[in-house]
Symmetry: C2
Subunit: 209 residues, 2 copies
C-alpha cells in the first residue's frame, strides 16, 4: 500500500486526451480523459500478466458501490494456458479468434443469494459497476479490457462448476493493447474507439406541474 | 474541450489515499485512490450544482461500455426545487431525510427497446457501468454520489411519464459532501466509507482437468 500513488497511476493515456480516441470522440465538456481514452480493443500484444496486476484490478472492483453493500460480484480468473483453454470451450469461436491473444479472462458472475433465502435483484446492475471499475483500473495500468456477452452461459456454469445461485454476466478479456496488425483482418473495420449518443438523446425531459 | 486536463482532474481525494477512507479500507494492492476514496455519503452541504457539472458527469457516463454499444442508459435530472420536490414524491421518506440536502437527483433508467422489436437484456448490467462512471467523474470533481434503490418505481414511471420500455434502476443523489453535523443524527452510525469483502471471498477457484 502506498499513500503517494500519483506516479504509479499517471500512466499512459489518463492524464490527457488521446489522439486516437479524439478521432471518434469529441467531448463537449471537461470529462476526465479516463472515460474518453478507455475503449475495448480486440488487438492484444503478447504480455504475461502478473497475479499482482489481476489482484489490483479486482481489488479496485471490490470497492464498487452496491445495494446494501451486498457486493454480489464474483470472479472466475483464467491466466494459465489450461485455464484459458477451458474458457475457450464456452467463448463463441468468433470471439476466441481475437480473445485468445489476451493475457487473461475474468468471468464476472452475480451471486443472487442473500441471507434468509432472499434473492438479490440488483446483482446485474451492481456487477456492471464492478465491471466498469475493472475497466478503469486496468486502463490506469496501461491494460485494456473487452467484455464479451458472446459465450455459452450454460456451458460456462457447468465447466466452472458454478453454484446454482450465480448468474454469469460477461467474460472479460484483459491484456496489453496492441497495434492493429496483431488483430485478424476480419475485425479491422470494427476495432476502434466507438462513438456515443449525444446528451440530448440520453437526458430525458419531463414536465413539472 | 481541453487536451491538457491534468490540473482540473487532480482535485481533492484522487491523487492519494484519504485518511478517512483508510480507517475502514486497507487495500492490499496498489489500487488507484479513485476507488478507495470514493464512498457514498448521506451528508451534503448546501451547494448549487451547475448545468455544466451535471453535463460533464453525464457525458463521462455516456462513454461507459455496453453490449453492442447500445448505450441503454437514460437520465432524468432534477436540479430545481420543483423538480426535486417531484422526485421526493417517489423517494422513500426515510431516504428523503438526507437526500433532500443534495444538490440534484439523477434517475438512471435502462431503455430495454432495440430495433426490430427486440429486447435489450443487458440494460441493467450496462446501466451499472454508467452509474459507476457517474460516481467516478463526480468524485474527481469533488462531488459525492449516493444511489438509492429505496423509491417507488411505479410512481416514478408515472410522475416522469416514463416510456413503457424504460426500467428505472436507481435514483442518484449528488452534491458537495459535507461534515457529519449536517446529517440527521439517526444516520450518523451508518454513514462512512464501508468496508469490503476480501479477494479470497470474491475470486472463485475451479478445477481444470
Amino acid at each position: 500500500m502506498n499513500s503517494n500513488y500519483t506516479k504509479e497511476m499517471e500512466v499512459q493515456n489518463v492524464a490527457s486526451y488521446n489522439k486516437e480516441a479524439l478521432a471518434t470522440r469529441q467531448p463537449k465538456h471537461k470529462v476526465s480523459p479516463l472515460f474518453i481514452n478507455r475503449w475495448s480493443t480486440r488487438a492484444f500484444e503478447p504480455y504475461e500478466i502478473t497475479e499482482e496486476e489481476i489482484n489490483t484490478i479486482l481489488e479496485a472492483a471490490s470497492y464498487a458501490p452496491s445495494a446494501n453493500n451486498f457486493q454480489p460480484w464474483r470472479f472466475f480468473v483464467a491466466t494459465t494456458e489450461a485455464q484459458k483453454a477451458l474458457f475457450e470451450q464456452f467463448i463463441m469461436p468468433r470471439n476466441a479468434v481475437w480473445s485468445q491473444k489476451a493475457s487473461a479472462y475474468i468471468l464476472l458472475a452475480g451471486d443472487t443469494s442473500l441471507p434468509e433465502g432472499k434473492t438479490n435483484n440488483n446483482h446485474a446492475f451492481d456487477s456492471g459497476a464492478a465491471w466498469a471499475s475493472i475497466a478503469f483500473q486496468a486502463k490506469m495500468m496501461g491494460l485494456s479490457t473487452r467484455a464479451m456477452g458472446g459465450y455459452d452461459r450454460e456451458k460456462a456454469k457447468q465447466l466452472l462448476a458454478m453454484p446454482e445461485n450465480f448468474v454469469p454476466h460477461v467474460v472479460i478479456a484483459i491484456g496489453k493493447p496492441g497495434t492493429i496488425d496483431l488483430l485478424d483482418e476480419s475485425f479491422h473495420k470494427v476495432n476502434g474507439p466507438t462513438p456515443r449518443k449525444s446528451l440530448d438523446e440520453l437526458i430525458i425531459s419531463y414536465r413539472v406541474e
